[in-house]
Symmetry: C2
Subunit: 335 residues, 2 copies
Amino acid sequence: MSNFLLLAKQKGMAELVTTVCATGGGAFKFENEFRQQVNMKLAKFDELDTLIKGILFAEVQNPTECYFYENARDIMKSEKRAFDFSKPYPFILVNVGSGVSILAVYGPDNFKRVSGTSLGGGTFLGLCCLLTGCNSFEEAIQLATKGDNRKVDKLVRDIYGGDYDRFGLTGDLVASSFGQMHIKDKRSSVSREDLANATLVTITNNIGSIARMCALNEKMDKVVFVGNFLRVNPISMKLLAYAMEFWSNGTLKALFLEHEGYFGALGCLLQFNGEIAAALNETAETTTTSSPSSSSSSQSKAEPTNTSQAAETVSNAMNSTTTTPTSNNVNNSDS
Amino acid sequence: MSNFLLLAKQKGMAELVTTVCATGGGAFKFENEFRQQVNMKLAKFDELDTLIKGILFAEVQNPTECYFYENARDIMKSEKRAFDFSKPYPFILVNVGSGVSILAVYGPDNFKRVSGTSLGGGTFLGLCCLLTGCNSFEEAIQLATKGDNRKVDKLVRDIYGGDYDRFGLTGDLVASSFGQMHIKDKRSSVSREDLANATLVTITNNIGSIARMCALNEKMDKVVFVGNFLRVNPISMKLLAYAMEFWSNGTLKALFLEHEGYFGALGCLLQFNGEIAAALNETAETTTTSSPSSSSSSQSKAEPTNTSQAAETVSNAMNSTTTTPTSNNVNNSDS
């Protein structure tokens, strides 16, 4: 946050624009700092509303936005494939930021928050910093990529000597995350990379397990994972694809989106644009009153008709919202 | 395990008894060591069957076995109260050992494993050993008792500056476990006690959240928590009682049992006793063919009729099964 305010002062943004779009907790927490330090007002939008509007807009604009992993059961061989998400409803939306929110989405304006967990990207990063001394999300992911959780976790075969057949638990499943680390000589034999990998696998599998139960509860078969935790993080995406496939016997599909962590900012921009436009002309008004999926398309058509003022505000809004800390920004060190 | 084998050799157990009851993974993993090192056979019983039989037996024998926390919403004031568990069915059973198994129990011989998580007591102990340098479960719990997770976790108010009203998330809820630990000066300001407390709160709340979803899925309102993770661990029991009460708006009840971690051993002993007795007299035979709740009571009546051989085996069985490593023994350092 302090970085954005510094930039706003240096570049004299307050001379150019008076209002900045913001979503997430920061929109509330930092409102006074914006007013006092750079004399800017915040246009605040709910992070879950903007998240969904951003996703729907991106899906309409980009036919290859949504993808899944083919051969998900073989993590070494699983590969990205485009998924037709043009008929999305209903779906479970798992937003993995520093924490995790899980939504059941029934339609463009119809969703509920069904669950969540505090074990998210912030937990992965926080634990990795403590356990490995790393200093950034990118560094933590790099370490995890080179490590092996099997030296840290206790597997079913470490307990049973093989599979626990009766309940279909194969020997290579993790029975207890970090379950070998109470043994002194095991602790001294693991590397930073192993600890980072175990942390990533632990957090990712837990999210997958909770998401699967939500899908079961809501009787939905599509589970869409978004959020900055998935940025530069194919290990987690492949693990989630595997977990959905394995634990549901293929009845659940894990889906991912190319712009994983930026939908809140995008949706925020769209709503702001819509509201400004609505005050200016009728064309744009329809973009706020009609359903987001249609508004997404009419929105893009409507944009050229916006006044330069609206367009200017919007372009600045995009800059600001992407730097405004939100609860799904896992690697913002000053949020 | 090596400790038990050493003891068995020193005390010449093999001269006195030829068969040892065992449950959990160790019964399979260590079978050969038993045969080779102390010439003892293992009578192996499934850990979930024995767990439930042990619970039902204890409940019949001890009227104050089961309890709940009164005033669960106020952790500082919540207090143990006896709960009448004489009509138990149906209930969710959460067995928190090194990992966690969650069962839906419909009747004495009718249950299914509905879920589980690898984030259990082994994860708490493993992470505490890594983060604080402690060396035992008891030490980890002692540290946790003196710490404050709010210095480690990111709360909703750290993000929103207050509550996130729209979704009923109050400011003091944890939004991201360990969510402050990516900030260098926050890391340097937390104590071992704070880290242990945050680890305990993280693992406990995650188990509570998954258990709640299972109860929702199975439409059950009683959730019974057992396993060695709860031994000398009132913090976790009070947190679980709070979580069940809070997140279900009082529709779910968290229940606990006095002999938290020993039901597998007890049920194992009962089954073995039943099988031996079945081979000896008709009275006992009915105890293995009838339902466990009736067998639990008739079992206890039948015991005096057992031969000294059976009785002797059983008494040793109790010793061995309590020391045999099982997946719900969270503080066995050589499993």
